[in-house]
Amino acid sequence: MKQLLDLYAKASFIRAFELHIAVASEAGHAPGLVHLCCGAELAEVAICAGLEGAKDQITGSHRSHGLALAMGVDPVAVAAEILGRKGGLSKARGGTQHLIAPENGFLASNGIVGAQVPIAAGAALTAKTLGSCAIAATFFGDGAANQGAVLETMNLAVALELPLLFVLENNGLGQSTSADYASGGANLLARAESFGLKTAAMDGHNGANALRVAAEMVEFVRASGKPAFIEARIPRLSGHYFGEKADYLAHHSADDPLEDLANQLGAEASAAVRAQAEQAAHNAVADALNMGEVAPADLARVQP
């Protein structure tokens, strides 16, 4: 139960953080569009719980605010980067889709669908070369599952025997296009198996299942030095980006994994956790907003 409560606390913080980012975005404080991770929290927190930040490295997609937080990156620095503020991870050079914090094991998120996957193979190669017993993990969606970069890296990781955990977060939607429509073969776990990867399905609605599958697969990669593949079934509770006119979501079943877990933990315990998460997220985003925007003079210019 302690583990589930911890999972719920971290996931609730990420949810609250994203909702505060949405409010800031709506008020015009974000330079561009923000892609929220609502619905993915349980799966992501469960997997990151088994990783050691800085030693292990992960890469994520454009929808990675929650992953950075799950790896323990400073929420104020994450919020400040998303909102283009002075205290941002990269002083506003990167932004929402380019969060970079290898000091916490969050190597990079990415604006190109699937491009983060081979980069994680590089972190795995470093771990293997240095003999550090570290592993790498890479998170991508069902949209990215059809990208050459992802398919090639599944093959490469097996061929070179890299300690790399692939995490396919299947929310059934690539932007606004359904995975059923876009995938030639609907069984993406079978696809991974055909590359010779050890595979496991994760139920992203079920905290206990997520924790068990995550622990098992992280342990397999660490002990064997070989790659493995998780398909986590998760909902996408928000649009592709915040503010999108997402009529298509009406056709998309969307039970909230956090509500299920809250029911399991009991109303009183979960409400207390939620209140704490809400306060912490409010503070982080407020602190970031107080930082002021980065002035152009701060940008080092390289001239030919």
Partner: protein
Amino acid sequence: MTIAAALNAAHHQLMDADQNILVIGEDIVGGAGLDGSELGGVFGVTAGLAQRFGKSRVIDTPISETAFVGMAVGAAMTGLKPIVEVMFCDFMGVCFDQIFNQAAKARFLSNDRVAMPLVIRTTMGAGDGSGAMHSQTLHGMLSSVPGLEVVCPSTPADAAGLLKSAVASNNPVVILEHKGLYGENADTDPDLPPVPLGKGRIVSEGGDITVVAVSAMVQVCQLAAKALAARGIGVDLIDPRTVFPLDKELILKSVEKTGRLLVVDEGPLCGGFADQVIAAIATDGYRFLRTAPQKLTPPQTPVPYGRLLEADWMVDENSVTKKIDEILYEN
């Protein structure tokens, strides 16, 4: 020592000195996995490395450029110094995202919190009947990508020395080696000292015209300069060696002396290296120019296959002397 031998020796020296240097690519060990029959890369540049340093540091990959260039990017971000070989620069089409979005941008996007000590070696150039997809010259296109450094060596010393500086750099560096130059022989210091990035070389001196060329065009222009010297025409021949960042100062100094500029390049007629040099010098050295700056490149078509077609497509010594005569006598 040939360029191929100098590159091979430099790889041995570098890998010997730094355990974190890995070499990654297709067929760089080769030989179908049979020990003792290694191919050492299709041009032999990586021969013997696997035997000496082992296959954990000299890694053959599947034919999967996106995956292995991306892997090299991630390895560079996490502490290794990969030298990755893309067999022909034409193949960069299939992995360009990892080059121009990932390798080129990581340092910037991290606000310099991650380094990118990545070297991509690749081949370029026409003249051996390899056809349109194994013969291109893409240094100009690559140098237009913010974040990349691009070098095109023309001698054994420069090839080895620029490789050493590229490995030492925290920026991603693309080295384009001309297929037609691997056998190019020259007396070379066996220590193969580093050659700084961004510094050009005066190949020969003369007072009538400045000619800028890299890679195989340096040899072509040397022959032309020799022929013109016999007729009393002096060519100041400059090999920038690094395409980006360009050694503009060296070229400007020469143009101040000669008042004329010709860029000879194997890249495209439009938007390539030749245009970049002319734009830079016309902007900053306009007051020195007595005639309009000129370029000599192949026509704006893919590289043709037939022997006569390819020979006609390429820039040769005669076309260079003819172009210089035109510039000098029309003005």
